[in-house]
């Protein structure tokens, strides 16, 4: 979406135009989802977090004074929600009870690749997921994550190498 259209759509949202909401959802859903998937490592949790982030963003869109910053703003909301979610999960683990909400679904999912991705450290999983969702554009990933282009490339490379190790290790295990 170009900046001008973006601004018009966001202004319309701020005036309560429901059709404009649909445009924003269709434009930014994928980016938010990719980031949530990278942070949470689970499709279902990522979908929940994306929903929550988009709803929260739409509810608070009146607070956004610079429409051109919508993308980084909504990604930040999603990031905060994912951090909260991971903190809750950590608390559950330290209290001796494993988070159960997705275990059934994960256990029945025999997707080797998805399991390997979920085992990557978060700092590598996020750029890797976003990179593949974003048409393999490392420059865009760098902008979205607010890191240098070389930093983004390095993380993507390390993610690919560690993923290869995990997949190879899995093959040997089997």
């Amino acid at each position: 979406m170009d900046d001008r259209l973006d601004e018009n759509v966001i202004r319309a949202c701020q005036k309560g135009d429901k059709a404009a909401y649909a445009v924003l959802v269709k434009t930014y859903y994928k980016d938010v989802f990719a980031q949530c998937l990278g942070m949470l490592g689970n499709i279902h949790d990522a979908e929940d977090a994306t929903q929550e982030a988009m709803l929260k963003g739409l509810l608070r869109i009146g607070e956004l004074h610079k429409p051109d910053l919508f993308e980084s703003w909504i990604l930040q909301i999603a990031r905060n929600l994912c951090i909260d979610f991971l903190r809750r999960q950590k608390r559950m683990r330290t209290s001796g009870v494993k988070e159960s909400s997705r275990s059934g679904l994960q256990a029945s999912d025999d997707d080797t690749l998805q399991r390997a991705i979920s085992r990557l450290p978060q700092e590598l999983r996020v750029p890797l997921t976003m990179f593949y969702f974003d048409g393999k554009n490392a420059k865009k990933i760098a902008e979205k994550l607010n890191i240098s282009h070389s930093g983004a490339c390095k993380r993507i490379r390390q993610a690919r190498q560690q993923l290869h190790e995990l997949l190879t290790e899995r093959t040997y295990d089997e």
Binding site: V25, G62, G104
Partner: protein, 323 residues
């Protein structure tokens, strides 16, 4: 492998991923033409790259339905006029003189938004949830269960339940393996094993019928949950629905009689309809093995009129009746 290989590994990964600078491509390709080990490594990374691309493409195909679910949720919240509240808040904030007064208005607006978010209801009346289930004519839902000591036996059940009949279809790896049809009035239970192409036809006693009814209907599980000590979790979007949740760690939730080391269960109920959207529980039993059982009840379709044909056992002609 030669001494260049280790140095080349990073560049090979970059080449395959498409992020290697033009200047380095030639050098890496030359090395690949001379080194079998690195060529294999590059090929493996290429295969994984294709897998990753396919993985994302698969998810992309579901993206539209995910967006639709979100838009439906937004539609529901729009109906409660929350969207119209926001511009008013902006107008108020434009005047610095009224900022202090506005602060109070903003808090009130946020509260209105929060209370109107799910439509007509302001929050879930937990005491009324069971009564609502009683009023539901029929329900379809999914039950997923896993046991840590039986890996590979994971599966799920799709359960159709109404006051007079039930049907349970068991699935493993998305293939139906067993079906159970129970007629509470006729007291019959037909059990079909699809893998063995066989079926059983049982006549049940009154007690067995009641036990089966209790096991199949989600009401008993929910009653047990609500009788435990629980804490409120607040609101959250679950499966595209605004829900309010409660959580319990009361070991009494488990009725197996085995000593329980820890238990955790959550119940999420739609703010709009008052019907459960998701129940999830995990119990770890005492002992060296620490067996963990997790169960999830979801994909509920409440208060639906189930066609009687749903409860007629469908037995293919080549299936054998077992004694």
């Amino acid at each position: 492998m030669n001494s260049d290989c280790e140095r080349m590994k990073d560049q090979i990964a970059d080449l395959v991923t498409g992020i290697l600078s033009e200047a380095q491509v030639q050098e890496v390709e030359l090395h690949l033409s001379e080194c079998n080990v690195c060529r294999d490594y590059a090929q493996a990374l290429k295969n994984e790259d294709a897998l990753l691309t396919e993985f994302v493409a698969d998810m992309d195909t579901d993206m539209t339905s995910r967006q639709e679910r979100l838009l439906q949720t937004i539609d529901r919240s729009c109906q409660s006029k929350q969207i119209e509240t926001l511009p008013i808040r902006r107008i108020i904030m434009k005047s610095p003189i009224t900022k202090l007064v506005a602060a109070a208005v903003i808090i009130a607006s946020v509260l209105i938004v929060a209370s109107q978010f799910g439509g007509s209801g302001t929050s879930v009346a937990w005491g009324e949830v069971i009564g609502r289930l009683d009023a539901s004519q029929g329900v379809i839902y999914r039950r997923t269960m896993t046991r840590s000591n039986r890996p590979g036996e994971d599966g799920y059940w799709t359960i159709y339940s109404c006051p007079t009949h039930s049907r349970t279809d068991q699935y493993k790896a998305d293939q139906i393996t067993d079906s159970l049809y129970c007629d509470y009035d006729a007291k019959t239970l037909v059990s079909i094993q699809h893998g063995r192409k066989s079926y059983f036809d049982h006549q049940l006693g009154e007690k067995a019928v009641r036990e089966h009814q209790t096991e199949v209907a989600p009401k008993a599980w929910l009653q047990k949950f609500l009788s435990c000590e629980y804490r409120k979790l607040g609101q959250k979007i679950i499966d595209g629905v605004l829900c309010e949740g409660i959580e319990t760690t009361d070991p009494a939730l488990d009725e197996s009689g085995s000593p329980v080391e820890s238990a955790l269960a959550r119940l999420w109920v739609s703010v709009e309809t008052g019907y459960p959207v998701r129940c999830e529980g995990s119990v770890v039993f005492e002992g060296d093995d620490g067996v963990r059982i997790t169960a999830v009840l979801d994909k509920f379709q409440w208060d639906i009129e189930l066609d009687p044909s749903e409860f007629e056992p469908k037995i293919p002609p080549d299936y054998k009746l077992m004694d």
